[in-house]
Assembly symmetry: C2
Homo-oligomer: 230 residues x 2
């Protein structure tokens, strides 16, 4: 019986995992390791491929999506794909990092402006729900990253959780929050909040389409006052 991710009983060779391209947060698109385009034409083609990949992966999911499908959508030849990416995994990774950043950029503006910490959190959720409704493929891709690009997936959520925790700490320092002595508290609350947001997005933006403001308002009351009577 398995202990903790014990190595397989038999000697199955571990899957080579493509090393993550540095990518960083430079240009809008996410060019991979050492295959960045050197030309205006190349730049354009790369962007076409990334857009096509987003659609293809968003529609079919990773394994049913095909490179041919991507290049057909992008209206380039099959081989062109390999001018910019080493493998199917690699585009996917590029996409995950790109999309991850995009969510952040979309939500950021909601964080500035009037109101206390919890009010900012409310606006962040509303923004996130709007984003999810408008970009359902992105949602799917980030979810599937758990399996195709675990590192990217983890980084994505850890980053968000840290941001939330940071804001909580700030609000706490301002005396806006009830105190919770547990050292784990901030992190737990951050992950709880994030999980709530993600599932609300899935249910009320991707699957259904309720008013983001209303959903955010209800959740915000929950976060501020809790459910207990009195």
């Amino acid at each position: 019986m398995l202990i903790e991710n014990a190595p397989p009983a038999d000697g199955r060779p571990p899957k080579p995992r493509a090393k993550s391209g540095s990518a960083g947060s430079a240009a809008p698109a996410a060019p991979p390791s050492a295959k960045a385009p050197r030309t205006a034409r190349g730049e354009k083609t790369l962007r076409k491929i990334l857009t096509a990949a987003l659609e293809e992966f968003g529609e079919y999911g990773f394994s049913d999506a095909s490179i041919v499908g991507i290049t057909r959508r992008a209206k380039v030849a099959l081989g062109t794909f390999y001018t910019y990416f080493d493998s199917k995994e690699e585009v996917f990774q590029g996409l995950v990092r790109d999309m991850s950043a995009q969510v952040g950029e979309y939500v950021a503006p909601a964080l500035s402006g009037a109101g206390d910490g919890l009010e900012r959190e409310r606006r962040a959720l509303a923004a996130f729900l709007r984003f999810a409704a408008e970009h359902k493929q992105v949602y799917r891709i980030i979810d599937e990253a758990e399996f195709v690009d675990p590192e990217g997936f983890r980084t994505h959520y850890e980053t968000i959780a840290e941001r939330i925790a940071g804001r909580l700490a700030e609000a706490a320092a301002n005396g806006e929050l009830r105190e919770d002595e547990s050292p784990l508290a901030h992190e737990v609350i951050a992950w709880a909040t994030m999980g709530a947001n993600v599932f609300l997005g899935l249910r009320f933006a991707v699957w259904g389409s309720s008013d983001p403001e209303e959903v955010a308002a209800i959740t915000s009351r929950l976060l501020r006052h809790g459910l207990g009577a009195k």
Copy 2:
């Protein structure tokens, strides 16, 4: 041509989705459509295959998992697999339904006993976290169901959300909860709670291993009193 699941823009043939076996909640294991074993020997073999499949999928994920891998673990011949299942997708589906039920059964006992509604919810979360820690493969499989068996995935979470919402309604009827006039409120809160629980499981039980009671306690305070000062 299919109506639901609108066809892709181009003429790509829609993936045939195996019709879900009735399965129901009869025997412990989840036998598929019309291939249930008729013999003690068969029953045993089926169980071996299901156990092996759980390990294989849990370890490698759906697409990297292989039928050969499953049958090797189960110590049966490759062909035997097809005595019980029509395809790789079908075992996975069977597993999802099985695991979904298992989570429910594990958590159920925590719901009876002393305490008000929110206290029961706290115990449910603690139980869930224990389950997640002990069955990381299950966690992974249910997550991956979003892509391999969307219907099973959706059913799983809708069922849980309904249960939570039901308990909330009950607690509300008992006057235990602050009132929220919005008609959406119960459902939103149920999904928020569920999402929080799932992410807490991922972070503090699957990835990390914090004390379930502590995590549940923090979350419970959040749910009861909120974060607001005073």
